[in-house]
Symmetry: C2
Subunit: 273 residues, 2 copies
């Protein structure tokens, strides 16, 4: 069995960056002490505050936060999926919502900028227009590693089946969905969408999430690890915590042999309007 | 409120065509007597038998079964979604798995041939190679009607998110998934996939299913009606039954305004491998 032990951090990040970094480090140490070798943080793990604080808190990559993360990866000799952070790029007005992945020697091996910006207005909640302050990425990214091919996505991307299908076709085996999913939508949409992404693409889905009240809305939490059959291997209770599971990557091929739906696709019939 | 009352037939069709047609007619009458104006049958509602019986039981369209269905639609003045039946086409060796939709005056208004053939080999169950005896369709079909735009799909198509996304982009509001889903996969995959199709595309999903033991496998049943938020409006118990719900089509626009994920798609970023 080619199993890897993964650890997901569920966090209640707020506008104190130092505190968030300390908590991330503590939760990560806990996961590592329990044997995790691939560790994932949630969306915006290092800072969630008011909109007017964001450009000051955004960082270049590399920058202080990623330097610290590289240190964590090196110290614990782990593959570290960095959830996401606000990325500032010199000469650009808007910020990116960016994932960085580190190898166990502390090198940045992949970077993904969120493609789908969260422009919604759910009844009973405030309007959110991420695109007024963010610039979207336009690359769907997989990150091949010795522990499996990692697929990258962030939060609202979850509603776009195209991203996950393309990740599967590019060879993703373990797909991260670091999130700050809203309570109002999460209670009805979080689990069915995450399960469906795992079932239809027959890969592992790992979703480390924010919990708690943020300036714009309350978060749903429920960080989850789903296997390629759609079985929930682990789900987090409320509160900041690290969530562990062992992923047997061989399960992917066993299931794809039984139900070869990736092979049974009929692209010639998909005439996209 | 622009509501339509729909009725789905859950059936235990076997190899006695006359019996299946009588049961379909009875269940349909029951749904109509409770006010259904759009009625859907399950996959292969008129015949499920051994493989060697199939070519004899297949029919041309129009043919005896569709003539009877046209009569039902006319008699009850309903829109009738005909689940699916084995279609024989002169000059072709293989059969199609075909849906036919009838208007209340008994006219055939749409036809859909299943695109994704069920070629699987699930552990604990027998191997099924639908493609050895079936020919696949290659057209994704919507059917505009005064009661809403109907999207067509059949059973195994459910695993292919592309079909449902394209149906949504073509304007589908009410999507049928007539099925003969296996028990072994249905218990883990049926509900999350159907819910996800509704949530990600923000349309109604109607899945009339077969129950009972068939020559190749036992069926999961659990016919279901899901609204565009992913809420289950109705789900069938075991047994042959008609399942009703009122669909408020205005809900589609309300939800799409709140979470405009169809508008927020980024086709330029989807570089299909």
């Amino acid at each position: 069995m080619k199993a890897i032990r993964v650890g997901l951090m569920q966090m209640d990040s707020q506008d104190q960056k130092e505190r968030n970094m300390r908590r991330a480090s503590e939760l990560l140490e806990e996961a590592v002490s329990r044997g995790a070798t691939l560790v994932g943080l949630p969306e915006y793990f290092n800072f969630i505050g008011e909109e007017n604080q964001e450009s000051e808190q955004a960082e270049t990559i590399p920058g202080p936060t990623t330097t610290q993360m590289a240190e964590w990866a090196r110290k614990h000799h782990i593959w570290l999926h960095g959830g996401s952070l606000l990325e500032r790029v010199d000469g650009r007005d808007k910020l990116f919502n960016t994932t960085v992945v580190f190898s166990p020697d502390g090198k940045i091996v992949s970077r993904y900028r969120k493609i789908h910006l969260f422009d919604v207005d759910v009844m009973g909640g405030p309007a959110v227009q991420e695109s007024t302050i963010r610039e979207p990425g336009d690359q769907i990214v997989v990150c091949p590693t010795p522990v499996g091919t990692i697929g990258l996505s962030i939060c609202y991307d979850l509603r776009f089946c195209e991203v996950y299908r393309i990740l599967a076709l590019k060879g993703a085996q373990v797909v991260f969905v670091p999130s700050m999913f809203a309570d109002l939508t999460g209670r009805d949409h979080w689990e069915p969408l995450l399960k469906a992404r795992a079932i239809e693409n027959q890969f592992f889905v790992l979703a480390p999430a924010q919990i708690g009240k943020k300036p714009l809305y309350s978060c749903y939490g429920h960080s989850i690890i789903v296997d390629p059959w759609g079985t929930v291997l682990a789900q987090a209770p409320d509160g900041e915590t690290s969530l562990l599971a062992d992923l047997d990557l061989e399960k992917i091929e066993v299931i794809r042999k039984q139900i070869p739906c990736l092979k049974n696709r009929r692209p010639s019939a998909y005439r996209w309007p």
